[in-house]
Amino acid sequence: MSEALIWLVAVPLAGALLALLLPRFAFAVVIATGVATTLAAGLLVYGVGTAGTLHYAIGGWSAGLGIALRADGLSALLVTMSSLVLVAGSVYARSYFHREADQARFWPLWLLLWTALNALLLAGDLFNLYVTLELLGLSAVTLTALGGSAEALRAALRYLMVGLLGSMMFLAGVSLIYAGYGTLDMAMLARTVQAGPLTGTALVLMTGGLLLKSALFPLHFWLPPAHASAPAPVSAVLSALVVKAAFYLVLRLWLDVFAGAVTPAGADLLGLLGAGAVLWGSWRALRAERLKLLAAYSTVAQLGYLFMFFPLLQALPPGAARDLAVGGVILLALTHGFAKAGLFLAIGIIQQRSGHDTIRELDGTAQRLPATTFAIALGGMALVGLPPSGAFLGKWQLLAGAIATGQWLWVAVTVAGSLLAAAYTFRVLGHAFGHQAYPGRPVTIAWEEWPALLLTATASIVLGLAGLPLWRLLEVGT
């Protein structure tokens, strides 16, 4: 069962090589890889659910000497989400890239990104995390640059420089940890870490690097141009998965590995920055002219919600309330992942059919692309946090925890942010439902619209209704 851990990395990597060597069969390779990886992810969830946290020692060497992979409920759920989102994105990408040449360049990098995501989510060694972060960053940057326009290239270059800076800071932190503790294994560190200047500085360096990569306000400046000018399937994955991976690492480091070294002041700082992200991101999303920019700023805002959980988790004593809060943040992260991915895919379809994604000129979209408009509505619902979406449960936990610990600022910010999200969602839908004089074609769903629809439906319905079993799975390991 624990071999699923290494298969989840080996299969996409093998797929990437095959897609590179056999460009004519690349899509078949991608689909085969996707199915195999999703099956392995399912196996992982089953394994974690029945047997608890899974470990795999690569090479068979003992912990510390070799590199270990580990999966608990959190990693298993995130791996499953990334598999489903990437499969959906692959199906859509098939129709997005028309030219054979573009496809040949795209698929190997897409699968390398997949490999990096799985490797990162399952890593149990700090330096291994650094290498996976670099692989993730480089493949994300090259995929962004495939947009081809000067705007995309500029955004990709900025993304790369910011990413390199972040990775370098992360590596500096890891070096300090090795200097101080003599080990890089995360499980061993979790047992032996003590608060102190060395651990504190290392944690600051690592977190700083990760905050750059997760685009937390005010370090978010690189995200909107990159996500807005990348090809649509790439934007979906960037917003839903890549920045989420960096957030996952902050969560893992703060709650798990370095739990003994975090301070309330640090958690409060993260919360404040998150609050800023929610307000600033939602405001900019409301004022955006283009759909993709709106979605990108919405990502900035939604990540803010995730970071606002930190002061709550710090203030709540270990127990049922804290577990519920952890469940809330994960559910919020999962919902945003599915919703944002679906949203970007839907925007891609609109962009392809209409030639633009200007919000003011969206009239007639509901007539021509009813399924896609419905997908946008579902996605918006999940972003606002209306029931029965998973975000509703997540935000509910955020509010409950904030009220319980008396931190009213987060309550105010959450309410304001949700209102702004509702505003920009309804703004888009209002324009999309604008009436065009010419009668539209009969209602149909093209096959490329299905991924967006399924993703947003998962976010807004399935995740909310499946909240309880997910909660139980998260208790494994955290």
Binding site: L138, L153, M161, L165, M168, A172, S175, L176
Partner: protein, 95 residues
């Protein structure tokens, strides 16, 4: 910590800080890429200094392997950054 370790680790930190400063401030992209490389060298110096255990004991090979990996990763990223910048300069020239 041996004196030699301390000296080299300290130099590594100084070089890292210098590189960080230029990477954030300098207007030229080439210089910023160079600065990130120098910052990387600073971090590597810290690691190799930690690995040194004196003239008589063999050094700890794990940081050496980490630094080797880091050097290769840094050159890959440098190459990609410069290729992107070159393509961008060409796009701008065509505009």
């Amino acid at each position: 910590m041996l004196t030699a370790q301390w000296l080299y680790a300290l130099t590594g930190c100084v070089v890292m800080a210098l590189g960080l400063r230029t990477a954030l401030l300098h207007p030229s992209l080439l210089r910023r890429v160079l600065a990130i490389n120098i910052m990387g060298s600073g971090v590597f110096m810290l690691l190799v200094a930690v690995a040194y255990r004196g003239p008589d004991l063999a050094p700890d090979p794990v940081p050496h392997a980490l630094v080797l990996t880091g050097i290769v990763v840094a050159v890959s990223a440098t190459a990609l950054a410069l290729a992107l910048a070159r393509r961008l300069a060409r796009e701008r020239a065509d505009e």
